[in-house]
Amino acid sequence: MLFKNYKVVFLLFLLIGINISAQNPKAHSHNDYEQKIPFWYALGAGAQSIEADVILENNELFVAHDKKSISKEKTFENLYLKPIEQTSDMNLNLQQPVQILIDIKTDATTTLRKIISEIQKHPKIINQKIFSFVISGNQPKPEEFISYPEFIKFDYQNLKNLTPQQLEKVALISLNFKQYSGWNGKGGLTEEDLPKVTNIIKEAKSFKKPIRFWAIPDSKTSWNFFVNAGVDYINTDKPKDCVEYISTLKTRTFKNNIFSEVYTPKFLYKNKNIPVKNVILLIGDGNGLSQISSSVLANNGQLTLTQLKNIGLIKTSSTDNFSTDSAAGASAFATGKKTKNRFIGIDSDGKAIENITEILSKKGFNTGVITTDEIIGATPSAFYAHQKDRGMEKEIAEDLSKSKLTFFAAGGKSKVSDIPQFTIAETPESIGKNKAQRLAYYMSDNAVPSILKGRGNILSDLVENGLQYLNSKNKPFFIMIEAAQIDSGGHSNNTGTIVTEGIDFDRAITKAVQFADQNPGTLIIITADHETGGFSIPHGDLQTNTIEGDFTTEDHSATLIPVFSYGPQSETFIGVYENNEIFHKILKVLKIK
């Protein structure tokens, strides 16, 4: 349904992205001498090309844009040659090659002669391998290129043919972007400009030299375009931001290849007053609205989740921090009280609070937990443990053996000693028909692998079987199901992890919704504990299911979190409210005080 009408999609990606992509895009610090700290700032940022405009005046080489702005101290030697020498004196152990692009503003021959003699005053510079010198701006004719010393190369600003010897002296090809397009760096190039630019790139590429455009717009959208178009040096006044952007582009861009088959819910509960019997609470750890949006886009425009009608928004702050962590977030859901970050099932004063599995088991409910985290992880443990720090793994594991849970499935077997109360299931498939009084299943000894590392369909298999197992006991049940690793993608700023774990979550949601359609009286609530990464989606392509994400942080954010609900009384969960209200609303619909 979503995006159904969508046909014309990101021409850029289709035309260029796939065909010629630069292997290793590098940042070029444009007019570097205008930075607060020339040379060092760009070098520290990881720029691999640094531009110095030089002017020969009174037999002295100054770095400046024009004669008016010459300042006595800002010589080529002071700003560039001496610092280069220092890098080897300081043993900085630099790895990446860096080119100094010298843009000659005065007469080509005399200025270049002076540059050469200045460099030759520093034999250490000639002998090092990291920094190279490339002459741009006013330069000698190509026929004269070969007469210059080994350590001098040229920036060719033309597409006329050269002899092989001349070509050998060329380090890169630079072209004026303004000649081909007046693009402002927002959205995309116009339909007229795009072929002009892609054709000229193709032509420049035929020289088999790195290429650069000057006078390009200096924005992320622009950097994205030129990287995908196969340009090697990205011209920028913001070397730090640009390096960060282009070096993370790979981990932030993901072409999706796993899908959730969208199920259309039947909404049989509508206009019927069915009492709530079973409650399924699904938590996508770190699954904010942008995360959900990215899964929607990568899953051909829809999810089972987006078929649901009742939506709410929750505020997730903990009592000691605007941005909650998973411990305080899950404790708010499990106990109905907001608490401090790191606290598990205790209030802000450290007092244990009865949690929902304990309350409901007294009322004759079976209870369960499924997670793609270790069983002693913060989210699952808030549903059975009471400890003052989420890191107290041993104590939390002891709480597990004292818990009221009927069923759990998770990773982290090695963190739990013997729990004779539970029968251990061998396979996910054996869970559904298992007659054990209490049952557990371990997915792994330690951490559960991610979808990208081959976890496969196990979460939805466990949900299907776990629900069947609990249902076979002919008593009402409560189960918490966590997709734990959407959060990991936020922390590691990895778009692929967010998208695949989000889509896997939807496969689990599908099983839950199908169960609810077959078992009237089942209420489903789907939410998250918080958002992770300050994630958003500035670019992408629907036809190839490609998402480029971007992040403001490696930590959690405080943005409002969506709540979707399905089944009888699900309208109780609409509106805008605090995260701990979820607990009270569940007890209210179950008519438990």
Binding site: L2, N5, L289, T306, I311, L313, T553, T559
Partner: protein
């Protein structure tokens, strides 16, 4: 009809007559619905969130029961702009970026404002930008590019909108074609004020053009223009017995994102929230009203996170617990789903997740339910 099938057959006749009589009764008591449509330009869920952390009191956003999510892509790019975004909301069709009130083949589409004028509705538009800017323009103009401000102004002369407030004076009286459109408006029975938000004249259309270009933003000291203009419009439009459609745009939430200016963004969101409060008060007194609040897209990839500052003593970065900060990824629009909030008659139609253009169709449905015959 479906309902009747589910009932035992013997009761069919009684029920049918019952239904008929309630339908008749309804027709007599039904009143055409007032619609107040509020667009927070660039207002994604993080922008809404800022109202919860930076306001002095509980935000009005918290009072909504109905929340939906809108998918905002355009036909030319899945990250949309305000022109394609507002046109989808005003006409019910997704279109290309930069399009104002035209479909993807540049053919003019009727807008909800124009359709309702034919049903004897009063109409109003309030914006903080030029009244010819993409969002308000998409309700009355039909041009193929959003930058054609002077053409858009010509369309406004013909539009007969009863209440207009915003900026953009220069597109009316300092035009390349030398025309002074203010004279045309005066001839058409408009009361024009270019100085202040004065008391509207009751038997005239009222047009407040209070800036050459856009109005100042909150940081520059706009004051309470938006809530006051909204209150003025509601007073003026409700004096009449006729129903009305009013669009109110919180324009600078977007501009805050474009400028990556957290302070501006937050102040603009709070101003918008205050304006929502004005409308909610109106709904209490006038229950035959539907309020829908949404956005055309998200701007800036904003998030609200921990406040990290350098400890002056140690130089180490630390997390200051009682402060939050707004972070942006960039100064441009993103493709995240945006929230939809609804209150009043017909609010239930706005639950769920849907493409932005269906919001128009939901409004039409709500109008139909109130007895308006409209396609």
């Amino acid at each position: 009809m479906k309902f009747i099938y589910t009932i035992t057959k013997s009761y069919k006749v009684i029920l049918l007559s019952l239904l008929l009589s309630t339908a008749l009764f309804k027709a007599q008591t039904q009143k055409p619905l007032n619609i107040i449509f509020m667009i927070g330009d660039g207002m994604g869920v993080s922008q809404v969130t800022s109202a919860f952390y930076f306001g002095n009191s509980e935000p009005n956003f918290q009072k909504f029961k109905i929340v939906g999510l809108s998918e905002t892509s355009s036909t030319s790019d899945w990250v949309t702009d305000s022109a394609a975004g507002a046109t989808a909301l005003s006409t019910g069709e997704k279109t290309y970026k930069r399009a104002i009130g035209v479909n993807k083949d540049s053919i003019a589409l009727p807008t909800i404002l124009e359709q309702l004028q034919k049903k004897n509705y009063q109409t109003g538009l309030i914006s903080l930008t030029s009244i010819t800017h993409a969002t308000p323009a998409s309700y009355y103009a039909h041009v193929k590019d959003r930058d054609l401000h002077e053409d858009i102004a010509l369309d406004l002369v013909k539009a007969n909108v009863n209440f207009l407030a915003g900026g953009g004076l220069k597109f009316f009286n300092k035009r390349k074609d030398g025309k002074n459109l203010l004279n045309d408006f005066a001839k058409l029975n408009y009361n024009i004020d270019t100085l202040k938000l004065s008391k509207p004249v009751n038997n005239k259309n009222n047009f407040y053009l209070l800036a050459q270009d856009e109005m100042p933003n909150k940081v520059q000291g706009r004051g309470d223009f938006l809530p006051e203009a909204t209150q003025t419009a509601l007073d003026y439009l409700s004096k009449n017995k006729k129903p009305f459609f009013l669009m109110v745009e919180g324009s600078f939430i977007d501009w805050g994102g474009h400028a990556k200016d957290g302070e501006m963004m937050v102040k603009e969101v709070l101003d918008f929230d205050k304006t929502i409060g004005v409308v909610m008060e109106f709904i209490k007194e006038n229950p035959n009203t539907l309020l829908v609040v949404t956005a055309d897209h998200e701007t800036g990839g904003a998030s609200i996170g921990k406040f990290i500052e350098k400890d002056p003593a140690t130089g180490k970065e630390k997390n200051t617990k009682d402060k939050v900060q707004i972070n942006f990824i960039d100064n441009q629009h993103t493709a995240a789903l945006v929230p939809v909030f609804a209150m009043g008659k017909g609010e239930e139609l706005f639950s769920g997740v849907y493409p932005n253009n269906t919001i128009y169709h939901k409004l039409i449905n709500a109008l139909k339910k109130s007895g308006i015959k409209i396609k």
